[in-house]
């Protein structure tokens, strides 16, 4: 078993090094896409706790991200609070949002909950759009001050490294949570509500916990976004973006961290790769998503896992025969 963990660590390290090398050799457009991928991964990992594991549709990801990004920008830039202190404040805000959104999830199920989260997302977007004095309104919030690191970031793109560190930390936490007692309890809520309750799982507590995790991940992604682009605009936090994050989750694989990363990567990178199909890209992509929702609802990662298991079985059988 130990050997397997080392192998996984080695593979991840190779991927990270390859990613950094790719970043260093790319032009600034590809660099910004690569950075976008980082905060998309964090968002999808957060969404995975609530929609993937617990099975409660959350369409407020973009709204929570907006709250994180704007409150970081306002505390840090408008009120000149220490950046790291503002980050802590934003994390605390994530806890509050998680509680506030988690509470309705105790009474509401399925689409009622998704309507609540859509409503929340829209209220956040409209509020940000209309509080022109504080947020800059539709013209946007300019010149967000960045988190300082061991060195100052002179160039826009070098901020990527700090975001990469954030992403790696978030991935590590997600792996630990998904494979822990918590992760299994979340899945039990999705798979069989009554049985979970009968085995003594405190559903109310766990649902709120899952929402809180999702909210914290989203606000961290918001801080990453604000720091990199240094410019915030309410149109980037519309409900349709929340749908995009759900698409990433569903395409990659519900419930598993590698699946989430795979989905975020595919949905973020494919539009850039398929420039040739430009006009028809989106319709093709959505059709694939719809077909996947019908035929492979657990996502690509579950297909991959099945394939790996199939090959392993074949190999084992061959060994036995030999």
């Amino acid at each position: 078993m130990k050997k397997k963990y080392w192998l996984i660590l080695l593979v991840s390290a190779v991927i990270v090094v390859a990613y950094v090398l790719l970043f260093m050799t790319s032009n600034s457009y590809i660099q910004s896409v690569m950075n976008m991928l980082l905060y998309n991964i964090v968002l999808v990992l957060g969404l995975n706790f609530i929609t993937g594991l617990t099975g409660q549709m959350n369409m407020a990801t973009a709204g929570m991200m907006a709250l994180g990004a704007y409150s970081f920008a306002i505390a840090d830039t408008s009120y000149n609070v220490n950046p790291w202190l503002s980050l802590l404040m934003v994390l605390a805000l994530g806890l509050v949002i998680g509680r506030a959104l988690g509470y309705p999830s105790l009474r509401l199920q399925g689409f009622f909950l998704s309507l609540t989260t859509i409503g929340f997302n829209e209220v956040v977007r409209i509020t940000v759009n209309n509080l022109t004095d504080i947020t800059g309104g539709a013209t946007g919030y300019k010149d967000v001050r960045r988190l300082p690191f061991f060195f100052q970031f002179p160039d826009k793109n070098s901020y990527f490294y700090l975001n990469l560190i954030f992403t790696l930390i978030m991935i590590a936490i997600a792996v630990l949570v998904v494979n822990s007692k918590w992760g299994r309890a979340y899945k039990s809520i999705r798979d069989n509500y009554e049985a979970a309750e009968a085995t003594g799982i405190d559903i109310a507590k766990l649902k709120i916990q899952a929402f809180t995790l999702a909210a914290v991940y989203s606000v961290v992604a918001g801080v990453m976004y604000a720091g990199y682009s240094q410019y915030l605009n309410p149109t980037a936090f519309a409900t349709s973006y929340s749908q995009n994050y759900v698409a990433m989750l569903m395409v990659g694989g519900i419930g598993s961290v590698p699946g989430n990363i795979l989905g975020a990567t595919l949905v973020t990178v494919l539009p850039e790769v398929l420039r040739a199909f430009q006009n028809y890209y989106w319709v093709m992509f959505c059709t694939i998503c719809l077909l996947m929702a019908i035929f492979v609802p657990d996502g690509l990662w579950s297909l991959l896992q099945k394939a790996i298991r199939f090959v392993q079985k074949k190999l084992n059988r061959n060994k036995e025969v030999a």
Binding site: T51, G55, Q56, M57, P104, R107, L108, G110, F111, F112, S114, L115, T116, I118, G119, F120, E122, V123, I126, T127, N129, N130, R190, T239, Q243, V246, A247, M250, N279, Y280, W282, V283, C286, T287, C289, L290, A293, I294, P297
Partner: protein, 294 residues
């Protein structure tokens, strides 16, 4: 009392009721699908947009048919489209393991339809010339012709729907299917045919909404985004799954958002209805008219 000065009550009332009727129709249209299949059709916005595009883009602009023929042909094509969607997409989605998968499926369906509209009719918004663009003067009040039509047609549509449920066999069968699919099948009702018919009716109503909205907004892919979401608010506030609830919720939202702008700046009126919906979901999730459990 300065805020009430210069408020034209009649105009405000007619606008409020007309918008309320639109929301009621939207709520009715997805309540039909919800009752028949148990799915919330997140693609309903795109059905409405498709209806508007078929009417305005194809029959009015490209083929230049007279209005009545264009309307009739739009409704026929929407019905065919409804049957197609019901049998190919909604049926498999209905049988999925988790409701989240089905919701995701309808969201993707919505994007596909919107994209197809954009690809086939172009991304530039356009208007229908000479269709419900007149206005009527009553004293100092100027009323848009389209608002009057919206109110009248909504009343006709909703009464026809009720009559259909009460008087025809197919309508009664639909109510049976929405109450208990197994029992309905045992009584000799063809459940999937009944679902197809329901979705077809829902699509026709979407087509009517699309045609009615064409003079209000320009025909574009996001013409009814906020109205479609407010239709959800209307359903929740009135009582999810109940037809009277859909109507009451719709009219209520219309009144609140139109009269609300007397007291608060009009940019906040969208937030008002969403806030109201969230409050209702938390305090009284069943809505004003609680639907009796079958």
């Amino acid at each position: 009392m300065s805020i009430f000065e210069g408020v034209n009550w009649l105009q405000l009332l007619v606008t409020a009721i007309a918008m309320g009727c639109i929301y009621s129709l939207i709520a009715t249209e997805y309540t039909l699908i919800y009752n028949a299949t148990g799915l919330v059709n997140f693609a309903h916005e795109s059905f409405i947009v498709l209806g508007a595009y078929i009417f305005a883009g194809t029959f009015e602009r490209a083929l230049q048919f007279p209005h009545w023929l264009a309307i009739a042909l739009t409704l026929v094509s929407m019905a065919a489209f409804g049957v197609l969607v019901a049998s190919t997409i909604l049926n498999p989605l209905r049988n999925l393991q988790f409701v989240t998968y089905a919701m995701f499926g309808t969201m993707m369906l919505s994007r596909i339809i919107i994209e197809i509209c954009r690809l086939s009719w172009g991304s530039l918004p356009f208007t229908v010339k000479g269709f419900l663009r007149e206005s009527i003067n009553i004293g100092s009040t100027v009323l848009s012709e389209s608002y009057i039509y919206i109110i009248v047609i909504s009343i006709i549509v909703i009464s026809l729907l009720q009559a259909f449920f009460k008087l025809t066999k197919a309508g009664k069968a639909m109510i049976c299917v929405s109450q208990n699919k197994d029992a309905a099948a045992l009584m000799g009702i063809n459940v999937s045919a009944s679902i197809n018919l329901t979705v077809a009716i829902s699509s026709i109503i979407c087509g009517i909404i699309g045609i009615l909205c064409a003079p209000l907004y320009n025909v574009s892919s996001n013409m009814v985004t906020s109205a479609a979401t407010k239709g959800f608010c209307a359903g929740v506030i009135g009582g999810f799954g109940s037809y009277p609830g859909a109507i009451i919720g719709g009219i209520l939202i219309g009144l609140i958002e139109q009269f609300g702008i007397i007291f608060i700046p009009s940019v906040w009126k969208d937030a008002l209805s969403f806030g109201l919906m969230i409050i209702f979901l938390l305090i009284r999730p069943g809505g004003i008219i609680k639907r009796k459990k079958a």
